[in-house]
């Protein structure tokens, strides 16, 4: 092998080694990011407060959501005691309006 051929061979090996190092660096960085993300999960800011007396659930979301994602789906429940007939004068009426 002449000196010129030996020089070309050396340059090819250096180039290959450089490419492998670049790939390894990127892969290592990615793996490190995943590990950090798993070890240190992020926190979301609390939802904006509603007015006093608010009882509706308002889950926080950073993106627009469809209506169905926010509607409370707790089932309708009966009162502790059902209405019973009474002879007293009513204080209020329940009827159509």
């Amino acid at each position: 092998m002449g000196s010129s051929a030996a020089r070309d061979y050396g340059l090819r090996r250096i180039g290959a080694a450089t490419r492998w190092m670049a790939v390894a660096t990127l892969a290592g960085g990615g793996l490190l990011s995943v590990a950090v993300a798993k070890a240190l999960p992020g926190r979301s800011s609390p939802p904006a407060s509603s007015s006093a007396g608010s009882t509706a659930a308002s889950p926080s979301s950073g993106q627009a959501s469809s209506a169905s994602q926010g509607a409370s789906s707790a089932p309708i429940s009966a009162p502790a005691t059902a209405p019973q007939p009474v002879a007293a004068q009513p204080v209020v009426n329940s009827g159509g309006s």
């Binding site: 309708i76 009162p79 329940s94 159509g96």
Partner: protein
């Protein structure tokens, strides 16, 4: 209208105040010592819901959303709460009680405060020449069309979609007022808002007596019955009140979202009790829309109910006392 005090029920030491508000009647009952504060809470809650959710005020948040042509609109926490209440109604009923009926109601003629609608309807004087007019079905887009960004507190609806909280807002307002007044005073409170009744705190001995009628403003002689409740909510929905005529066709305000027109009248009045007034009203409105399927739907949920058919037949379910 100035407040009108009415006599408390016999044997109960209660103060009762009734006044006109948001196109209907508001009533509140409580022990006399705290009554002034309780009335103040109810007035405050009514003012807030009117400012946020009225379909007939140009400056309400609801009007801003309805006229936004699809753009997100920043809303208050209170508006979001009432929207959530309306969406809960749609979710629990599979869309039978849907807040996107606003355009349908407007096109059917309910496009301003109801007193003006009724006054402009002609009252069926008989002088008008009958015209062949058919109720036009209006497509109801459905509650899934509403986009809510709870973090940014914005709401958007597609162009031409109009929200109406008429089926849930009064009931939720009654719940809020009763809970807030009871918490403030430590006393039992009963709130009635256009026939939607909410109780909070310790009830009087024997419970809160509530008259049941087709029309919440009916005189004592027109009541179907009187029942006692001890807490939660009691709501009555009906098709005999808030009716109007358009070109000789009688209409009412309970729209069936599946058909985009007033619900068929199988039941003229449905009363339901639940753990809160909002849910009672969701169920009573759904029952009107369901028609013949309503008894099974109510029984499946174990809700004490009283249904009056168009012919006047009474059906009670779920332990509602007879």
């Amino acid at each position: 209208m100035s407040p009108a005090a009415t006599a408390p029920p016999a044997g109960c030491d209660l103060a009762v105040t009734t006044f006109a508000a948001i196109g209907t009647t508001a009533t509140v009952a409580s022990p006399p010592a705290v009554h002034r504060d309780v009335v103040g809470v109810l007035r405050d809650e009514i003012r807030m819901v009117d400012e946020a959710c009225s379909r007939f005020r140009d400056d309400s948040e609801l009007a801003a959303v309805n006229s936004s042509a699809g753009a997100p609109v920043a809303v208050s926490g209170l508006f979001l709460e009432y929207l959530e209440a309306a969406l809960r109604g749609a979710s629990l009923t599979g869309g039978l009680v849907d807040p996107t009926v606003g355009a349908a109601l407007r096109i059917l003629g309910y496009d301003r405060d109801f007193a003006a609608v009724a006054a402009g309807a002609g009252g069926g004087s008989g002088d008008e020449e009958p015209r062949p007019w058919r109720v036009k079905a209006v497509r109801v887009p459905g509650w899934h069309a509403v986009a809510v960004d709870r973090r940014r507190m914005t709401v958007s609806v597609p162009p031409a979609v109009e929200l109406d909280f008429g089926a849930t807002a009064k009931a939720h307002c009654a719940d809020r007022a009763a809970a807030r007044a009871a918490s403030l005073t430590g006393q039992g409170v009963l709130v009635g808002l256009g026939g939607d009744v909410a109780a909070a705190g310790e009830p009087p001995p024997g419970g809160w007596p509530v008259g049941i009628a087709d029309d919440h403003a009916a005189p004592a002689g027109s009541l179907h019955c009187t029942v006692a409740i001890r807490g939660g909510g009691l709501a009555t929905s009906g098709t005999t009140v808030r009716r109007w005529s358009r070109d000789g066709v009688e209409l009412h305000h309970v729209v069936d979202p599946r058909r985009g027109r007033p619900a068929s009248v199988v039941w003229r009045t449905v009363s339901v009790a639940a753990s809160r007034c909002l849910d009672a009203n969701i169920a009573s409105t759904a029952a009107l829309v369901l028609g013949r399927a309503a008894p099974e739907w109510l029984e499946d949920r174990g809700l004490p109910s009283r249904l009056v058919s168009a012919e006047g037949r009474v059906l009670t379910l779920g332990g509602w006392g007879r």
